[in-house]
């Protein structure tokens, strides 16, 4: 068992080598195969760690002064296992998808994967920060992979670079202060240290802000819907299904494990941030018409849901309700696993659409059902899972989460009575909107008739890409039907962080408090009923063949693709309902004929739904920074006298400060 995790890292290194040395023809096949092996080994290592067979290493010479300390425990094991699964599917997919990718991008993918696997295994502050930065840099370079082809990539890269480094500064500040106060920098020493009062608050809030920016939590999410769509699709899958999880890992590790919980208001902050992200994310996804941007916003939504669970867990723990805390945390972690499975599937399918049509604009897609039948089926599966409907997998974790939230009321105190109904309402609204969002994505993107020439010329993905998607799809199905098999492992993990009995798996049934659910029985009942109905209909219709008929076109001849509903028109009623929240912008420009003001020559209509938080929060901040930058130009006008004067003034002030203070 001990060799699995180092083996996975060694395979990552091998994949990186295989992506650089062999000839371009075989490069992606060799590197993809090695990386898939690395992912599978990491999955096994993570599962072993969840089952109690942990792994640790102490390499004092690798890093001067601090050394590298690694330890894969149950909590880290869960995140490593999830990452391993995502890597396996993405690596198999990349064999076909990344065949013509630039060499640097191919070399970087295994390095990014290795960093993702190592972050949850870091067991000291310096190791953690180093690996965290490695993960950020590798993903940043991968986002920029296509910067020559599309200028939008550069802007996405700048946003990502700035926000991820601001996040790093926050985490660094928090953890370094914590380590200084604890007198040691290994996680074991931090755990033993009793950080209290203002320091603990500062550490928690700083690290929360940093981790939240990585998880794409509102208002620090702005980089996510830009960077995730611009990266190559298998990298999008790695980022959206594995990297964002690291933000959740950090919050659970520092907040619940190292700081050992905290007052209730900490967790109310977490819960509020989660609820806000869930709602903002799904609303923006509901009105997005770029397929990958939609998926990016859906990631913000799902991470928000996970944070609702984490926040509720911390809140219950602080209130002394151990069983509920364990239930909420188990629901959150199960949602992390489920989200990773369906988001990998959806991003890979979106990449396959991009590969087959060259566009990811839902308004220009359509009719892929016949041209890309297998991709359509896997996307439909992913959409079912993502919209939290049975028999999908997200339904199970959201069910557990709702159970923990509604159980809290009778004796939770006033704050619980105010917060929990609102949290339930947020989860419920999210569920309804996500169904609408994914009906839009599947219905306008894949069904009906093609809306553009690109969609008309679509072709199915090569076998390796289909195999990667099939693997992710199989994981979704397994998680949807057999959550009772995964739950004991998740309960191990929650047991490590929070003592207390969580949800139980009892045969085919999930039991949480007094309620029960059996996803496999629901799926079986549905399947049996559909089969029975089909049999009855066949018998009644006397095996008459279906007759092809014209669509109802109001007698005006065949309808063109321009008459179809597009993604934008599908979302219009929702946009109108949430008009005050979304603040959509539209612009009508009427050009008149020169001779007469009554005759219209041309009408131009433009509509866009900008991210309001970005608009209101970031635009003024950027404008301010810009103004400060311009103003400071006055300080440096090129006159040497002035610079000498600055130097003298700085020196004099330093001397005065020293004289006064010492």
């Amino acid at each position: 068992m001990n060799l699995l995790f180092p083996g996975a890292l060694a395979l990552c290194a091998l994949a990186s080598l295989l992506a650089s040395i062999p000839p371009a023809r075989v490069r992606s096949a060799l590197a993809g195969t090695a990386l898939a092996g690395a992912g599978a080994a990491a999955l096994a290592a993570g599962a072993a760690a969840m089952a109690g067979r942990t792994w640790s290493a102490w390499l004092p010479d690798l890093l001067p002064l601090a050394g590298v300390r690694l330890e894969l425990d149950a909590l880290g094991g869960l995140f490593t296992a999830v990452t391993g699964g995502v890597i396996t599917a993405a690596a198999i997919y990349s064999i076909g998808y990344a065949r013509h990718a630039p060499r640097t991008a191919q070399i970087l993918v295994p390095l990014f994967a290795a960093a993702l696997l190592l972050v949850p295994a870091a067991a000291s502050v310096s190791t953690f920060l180093l690996l965290w930065e490695l993960m950020a840099i590798a993903s940043l370079l991968l986002v920029l992979a296509d910067h020559r082809a599309r200028p939008a990539v550069r802007s996405a890269g700048v946003w990502y670079a700035v926000l991820t480094h601001l996040g790093l500064v926050a985490i660094l500040g928090g953890l370094v202060a914590f380590a200084a106060a604890a007198g040691g920098e290994s996680f074991a020493e931090l755990r033993r240290a009793d950080a209290g009062g203002a320091l603990a608050i500062g550490v928690f809030l700083a690290t929360f802000a940093g981790f939240a920016s990585k998880a794409g939590i509102v208002p620090l999410h702005v980089w996510l819907p830009r960077a995730h769509p611009e990266a190559p699709s298998h990298v999008s899958a790695l980022m959206s299904a594995a990297m964002v999880n690291m933000g959740i890992y950090g919050i659970v590790r520092v907040g619940l494990d190292l700081l050992g919980g905290g007052p209730r208001w900490w967790w109310l902050v977490v819960l509020a941030a989660g609820a806000l992200s869930a709602l903002h994310g799904i609303l923006q996804a509901a009105v997005a018409s770029d397929l990958k941007r939609l998926l990016g916003y859906s990631t913000t939504e799902n991470m928000g849901l996970v944070l609702i669970g984490v926040g509720a867990a911390g809140f219950f723990e602080a209130s002394g309700e151990r069983a509920l805390a364990a239930l909420a945390l188990a629901a959150a972690l199960l949602h992390v696993i489920n989200h990773a499975a369906f988001k990998t599937l959806l991003f890979l399918a979106a990449g396959s659409v991009l590969h087959g049509t060259g566009t990811r604009d839902l308004d220009a897609l359509g009719g892929l059902r016949e041209r890309m039948p297998l991709t359509t089926i896997v996307f439909a599966l992913g959409a079912l899972c993502a919209s939290a409907l049975p028999p999908g997998n997200a339904f199970v974790s959201e069910w557990l989460m709702l159970q923990s939230l509604i159980r809290s009321l009778p004796d939770g105190g006033v704050s619980a009575a105010v917060v929990m109904p609102l949290a339930v309402a947020a989860v419920a609204l999210t569920a309804g909107l996500s169904a609408a969002t994914f009906v839009k994505a599947l219905g306008t993107g894949f069904l009906a008739r093609p809306r553009s020439a690109e969609a008309e010329r679509a072709h199915e993905a090569p076998p390796s890409m289909l195999a990667g998607m099939a693997l992710a799809g199989a994981a979704c199905v397994a998680l949807a039907l057999g959550p009772t098999l995964v739950l004991p492992g998740v309960a191990e993990v929650t047991g490590q962080v929070l003592p207390g009995r969580g949800p139980a798996a009892d045969g085919a049934y999930l039991r949480a408090a007094a309620s029960s659910l059996s996803p496999v029985l629901i799926a079986a009942a549905l399947a049996v009923t559909v089969a029975a109905l089909l049999a009855v209909l066949r018998a009644l219709a006397l095996r008459r063949a279906r007759r092809a008929a014209r669509l109802w076109d109001c007698g005006a001849g065949p309808m063109t693709a321009r008459m179809e509903y597009t993604a934008t028109s599908f979302a219009e009623p929702l946009q109108r309902v949430f008009d005050d929240v979304l603040a959509p912008e539209s612009d009508v420009e009427v050009t008149h004929v020169k001779e007469s003001a009554y005759l219209v020559n041309r009408v131009r209509f433009q509509a866009a739904v900008p991210d309001r938080i970005e608009h209101r929060l970031y635009a003024p901040a950027i404008a301010l920074a810009d103004r400060v930058g311009r103003a400071s130009r006055e300080l440096a006008n090129g006159s040497v006298h002035r610079y000498v004067g600055y130097g003298f003034a700085a020196f004099a002030v330093t001397l005065i400060v020293l004289a006064v203070t010492s």
């Binding site: 309804g432 609408a436 029960s516």
Partner: protein
């Protein structure tokens, strides 16, 4: 087991008659003779005899949607506490699962509507999903309010606890939740004032626009499933707020259930006569109101349960 099977058969066979009854009540109140309560059943028979149609450019999702819609309604009919509280499927699905199953049926039909690629199909699907997205939170919050006292979201347990203590229904919690649930039932089943099941005017129709391309046995399946959804939602309402009779012997319990649903359906139809359909973009206001009522129900339950 027998109870659950009897429930499914009763709902499956009885639901077209419920629709017939509601149409008859409306017709009489509007001064028309009406077609009799068996007319929907005759319509189904007629549709089932017709040949199946495959409109140009539609695919497997278009054909699967009616099956999924009917299957979800049947599974809910087997799960719910309509005539018995100990259905073998009861521990498999609770009120959240039932809500989500009904939503799954709606989603399947919306995808079927989009698959046709006509403006009508897309319009109906878009409107239906908007309404559904707003209805879902209300249902879940109302469930929340009702489950607090019982401590479980399993339908059988909620119904059994109300049956034991019938007076508990006359609490502000139940009343607020009941009003919220009535509004969402009306919205989910596409009745006035949210949608008009008898209209084919493009400005107003929601459900009918979505199913415009269906004909023959497919349409029969959709009509039957819609009738079952109406029955099931009225039945759930009856089961959650007036579960009296559920503890009786099975044949009697079935008869009581049929009577309750018939009365509720007749009341709904009678109320519809005095109402006009709301403008499409006024509907969210109605749904937001029901959401607020459900939230009040939860808040009320907090203060009452502590007392």
């Amino acid at each position: 087991m027998i109870g659950a099977a009897a429930q499914v058969v009763l709902i499956g066979v009885g639901s077209p008659f419920l629709v017939g009854l509601m149409r008859q009540v409306r017709a009489r109140l509007e001064g028309r003779a009406g077609a009799g309560i068996a007319q929907p059943m005759r319509d189904l028979r007629k549709l089932l005899r017709k040949e199946p149609i495959a409109p140009h450019g539609t695919g497997w999702l278009f054909r699967a949607a009616p099956l999924v819609l009917a299957a979800t309604a049947l599974v809910v009919a087997a799960v719910g506490p309509f005539a018995t509280t100990d259905s073998p499927l009861d521990p498999a699905a609770d009120l959240f699962a039932v809500t989500a199953l009904l939503a799954l049926g709606t989603v399947a039909l919306a995808l079927g509507g989009l698959d046709t690629g006509t403006a009508f199909g897309g319009m109906g699907a878009s409107r239906e999903m908007t309404v559904m997205a707003l209805v879902e939170p209300t249902i879940l919050l109302a469930v929340f309010a009702l489950s607090i006292r019982v401590g479980s979201t399993n339908l059988g347990q909620i119904a059994a606890s109300v049956a034991e203590d019938p007076l508990s229904v006359i609490s502000p919690v139940s009343l607020l939740a009941a009003v919220a649930l009535i509004i969402v039932t009306v919205a989910e089943t596409g009745r006035i004032p949210v949608d008009n099941p008898a209209t084919h005017l493009e400005l107003t129709m929601i459900h009918e626009a979505m199913v415009l391309e269906y004909a023959g046995p497919d349409l029969a399946l959709i009509e039957w499933a819609s009738a079952m959804r109406l029955t099931v939602l009225l039945g759930l309402f009856a089961g959650l707020f007036t579960p009296w009779g559920i503890t009786l012997a099975l044949p009697l319990a079935l008869a009581v259930f049929a009577l309750k649903v018939a009365v509720l359906g007749a009341l709904l139809a009678a109320a519809e006569v005095f109402m006009a359909k709301l403008r499409l973009f006024r509907v969210p206001e109605l749904l937001a109101g029901s959401f607020l009522l459900a939230l009040l129900a939860v808040a009320a339950s907090f203060f009452l349960e502590r007392a």
